[in-house]
Symmetry: C2
DNA sequence: ACCTGAACACCGTTCAAGT
DNA sequence: ACCTGAACACCGTTCAAGT
């Protein structure tokens, strides 16, 4: 039968501390043992709250999703609503960079985590956009936010050859001979402004959807 | 001084076996010890070929990138070239689903791995597209392919509430009351066709770039 | 139900040594 | 340079037991 915790812990408090440790030490830096020590309990106690490490990580992701802000009221149209939400998504993930693989793996599930999704859907509904078009837009936006987060947080282009030659990369003459276009374009990759590119790509998606919606082009 | 290997191993052979084991057992299933056993050497031998586990994973990613196919000749325009390459990227990653986090983390670096990038850049160059616009397009396409891969391989929408209610999710009445739009749209998410959505989004990006290129809208 | 310590079956990597 | 076995400092999780 259900017993009150003797340690004062809750699922939420455990997940919140996990998120904190992930922020500080990375995903690999979070161990059940370390988290337990931090919370002042034995490692096995945590299994009272979560069945395994994966479930704990999933719960941490839900707390992160709850930080995403929707527009304060329902006055904005779908485009501005999406822009507002997507920028918040980006800021939240950049605030918790070590969680990016969790965001890619676990979708929002709790009421708080789904609040931003509901707000986005609601703005689409108000604009008369069909549920199917709404689903397709959400999918594209999920792809975009997760792809962007991975690229930005892993500093994907900072390591790109000819963008910023790391020690173990090819030497420039070899690169120049075999891959002249990579040599030419590469250095520009790391100079792009992440925020500007994010807004640019987002506009591209929004405009594309606006133009094609309901035109049966699928 | 440089000595020939006494085990017949090469960096490439080690990385290839690593990729094989990742395909079979997942990223977490690949341990240095297991890989060594599989190759018939002691675990520490592998440190002759790679400084650490990360370097080994990076090398496996390079072998994967080398599988991506560029168009056979230079007759296609940039749009068709990109479509050809991007579809190959998707197929290759879907063939090696357990590597998705590696693809998100390590950009192509070796000559073989960069072949598809060079082919893409070359088609842009032929069409008179500036290196800067080329870099911006490559970034958007990298975001798109990585985001798509994560969503598809993690079956992101299969776990989405109201798309396919998992055991621990909210019950439907609660969902219906607090998140009516999520309830309505959710079930459609998992019904979208991955291949169709991929092509749809890719066209959207390509059209957007074509329309805006050089219009100074940044 | 909640909490624990001990044990099991693993890890990646350092170290000292052998060829 | 190439290869090894032993050891170090960890893991997540199972188990048996205590409240």
């Amino acid at each position: 039968m259900r017993m009150p915790p003797r340690t004062g812990l809750t699922e939420r408090a455990v997940a919140a501390k996990a998120l904190e440790l992930i922020d500080a030490d990375g995903l690999d830096g979070l161990s059940i043992r370390k988290l337990a020590t931090e919370l002042g309990v034995s490692p096995m106690t945590l299994y009272t709250y979560f069945p395994d490490r994966d479930a704990l990580l999933e719960a941490a992701a839900q707390l992160l999703y709850a930080e995403i802000e929707a527009p304060p009221d329902d006055t904005l149209g779908p485009q501005d609503t999406v822009r507002h939400i997507m920028r918040s998504v980006r800021r939240v993930i950049l605030r918790h960079p070590n969680t990016v693989t969790l965001v890619a793996k676990y979708p929002p599930r709790t009421l708080d985590a789904l609040a931003f999704v509901e707000a986005g859907y609601r703005s689409f509904s108000r604009a008369g956009i069909t549920p199917l078009d709404t689903a397709r837009a959400y999918r594209a936006l999920a792809v975009y936010s997760i792809g962007t987060a991975e690229i930005e947080i892993n500093r994907y282009f900072a390591h790109h050859p000819a963008a910023n030659l790391p020690a173990k990369s090819l030497d420039t003459p070899t690169l120049q001979r075999h891959l002249p276009n990579v040599t030419k374009v590469g250095p520009l990759l790391d100079q792009l402004d992440d925020t500007a590119e994010f807004d640019y790509g987002l506009d591209l998606i929004l405009d594309g959807f606006t133009q094609r919606r309901g035109h049966g082009d699928r």
